[in-house]
């Protein structure tokens, strides 16, 4: 009896976490370069009362066992790195990666990774993200730059009004064996972990790296319809788990009323 109360409570808790993840996905439906997450659940351990194959009192063998499950627990939130939609912005410093790879940013000497390509020019003339972290390898925009161009292979050049090349270079992207193992640290940034493996860096368009497109941004990969459906399913599951708790409660009441 008490077991079922707690079992149903784990069910409600799991659905609560499902809603938390969905809410975060929906909150970031307009966040550039955002990648949605999904909660993964696992059934809890089973309390075994009789193993299949054990002997019964009359000497015959039990064909199937007898065990009681203890509910569910959230196990992981998995980030899904599917491609987001593209949005044309017309801004030369808005870049989208089409395919695999991350931009690398320098966060006080440590490299962090992002798919959000909405870069700005910092005060000292380098490209950086909205929070001011500098893109590596660095992209410098000298004074007097009028035209900035980036081709799909990542080669960039800054030109002045008469077309003289002021500076040029090629950007690099980083790839991971297991991007789902990256840890999100907020601000659209990811850090590598042991689970993600070490990054391999390379030029866009080569060896499996995606290409880059100027004047476009990769939007969030959250699909609102999917999230809504998951929300409905989650809410109903929450409801039925609460019904199980109510029933447990009512059954306890019946037991209490056995003695008048």
């Amino acid at each position: 009896m008490i077991r079922s109360l707690w079992t149903a409570a784990t069910g409600m808790e799991a659905q609560q976490i499902e809603q938390d993840v969905i809410a975060n996905n929906l909150a970031n439906v307009n966040t550039v370069g955002f990648k949605k997450s999904r909660a993964d659940f696992q059934d809890l351990m089973y309390q075994v009362f009789a193993k299949a194959g054990s002997e019964m009192s009359d000497g015959s063998l039990l064909p199937v066992g007898f065990e009681i499950g203890m509910g569910v627990r959230p196990m992981a939130t998995q980030r899904l790195f599917s491609q987001g939609d593209y949005q044309q912005t017309g801004n030369p410093f808005d870049w989208a990666i089409e395919g695999d790879g991350f931009f690398q940013l320098d966060d006080n000497g440590e490299t962090v990774y992002t798919r959000a390509g909405n870069f700005k020019v910092s005060r000292d003339g380098y490209l950086c993200d909205t929070a001011g972290l500098q893109l590596t390898p660095e992209v410098s925009i000298p004074e007097g730059t009028v035209v900035f161009s980036l081709d799909s292979g990542g080669t960039w050049s800054a030109l002045d009004e008469v077309g003289t090349v002021l500076s040029s270079g090629r950007i690099e992207l980083a790839r991971f064996l297991n991007p789902a193992g990256l840890v999100g640290i907020g601000r659209n940034l990811y850090e590598k972990t042991e689970g993600s493996g070490e990054p391999t860096t390379g030029s866009p368009g080569e060896e499996g790296f995606g290409t880059v497109t100027q004047n476009y941004l990769e939007m969030s990969n959250v699909n609102v319809v999917d999230e809504m459906v998951k929300m409905i399913v989650g809410q109903r599951a929450y409801e039925i788990n609460s019904k199980a708790i109510q029933t447990s409660d009512s059954m306890l009441q019946i037991i209490n009323n056995l003695k008048r």
Partner: protein, 238 residues
């Protein structure tokens, strides 16, 4: 009198045990790859006590429902679902287990693993993915950037009832489940098999249990009233 009470309270307890299975099913109504279970009682030998009452021995047994859950499209290439019978093979620290929960990922070494980090077996050891473009064919062949990385080991069982349940949607073969190559199965990449718990059935079971308990309560109360009457009147002349 006491035997009657015992019979009713045993029924009471059996319903209670059933309810614990119902709540576990409901709690896992949203768990990928979960297989619902139901408790039933095998009626054994009858023992007669006195004239009127016959009591039976009940053996609780859990039957796992191995019907397929419906497939949900996720689009993630390492979300795999098996259409038809069969299980993925997973290596864990306490031996090989089998699962239909196919929300796989890769670890830092590039091996295909379950969400708790145990490697998924191919025909020849773990499947290692080095590259970005992963495809899984219906026959279980994993190709990475066009090159074959290994075929997933899919196992079927002649005697599903013998499988022992482990946590996380996994099952262990105690040795008599009769592993065999599966029949007609197809691996679907980008799909996940949902829980096969049928919430309506569980709801109805819940109502049934609840009302049964109410009924038992009334019986116990009636028996207790009878007891009270008989004990109260014994020795009273009029």
């Amino acid at each position: 009198m006491t035997i009657e009470l015992q019979v009713v309270s045993d029924s009471f307890n059996r319903k209670n045990l059933r309810f614990e299975h119902v709540t576990n099913n409901i709690a896992n109504a949203g768990t990928v790859g979960f297989k619902a279970e139901s408790l039933f009682f095998e009626v054994g030998q009858a023992t007669s006590a006195g004239e009127a009452i016959t009591t039976y021995e009940y053996t609780p047994q859990v039957r796992i429902d191995f019907t397929e859950g419906c497939l949900e499209r996720t689009g993630n290439p390492l979300d795999l679902a098996i259409e038809g019978p069969g299980f993925f093979t997973v290596e864990t620290s306490d031996g090989v287990v089998y699962t239909r929960k196919g929300n796989f990922t890769v670890n830092g070494r590039g091996e295909v693993v379950t969400q708790d980090g145990n490697p998924v077996m191919g025909d020849s050891g773990p499947i290692v993915i080095k590259g970005s473009d992963v495809e899984v064919e219906p026959d279980g062949m994993v190709t990475v950037d066009g090159a074959e990385a290994g075929r997933l080991k899919i196992v079927g069982f002649r005697n599903l009832e013998a499988l022992e349940r482990k946590t996380n949607g996994c099952f262990r073969d105690p040795g008599d489940a009769g592993a065999e190559p599966p029949g007609s199965t197809a691996v679907r990449s980008g799909f996940l098999e949902q829980s096969n718990v049928r919430v309506i059935n569980e709801m109805i079971e819940m109502i049934d249990i609840h009302r049964s308990l109410e009924c038992y309560q009334k019986i116990i109360q009636t028996l207790s009233d009878q007891d009270k009457m008989s004990t109260g009147r014994i020795g009273r002349l009029i």
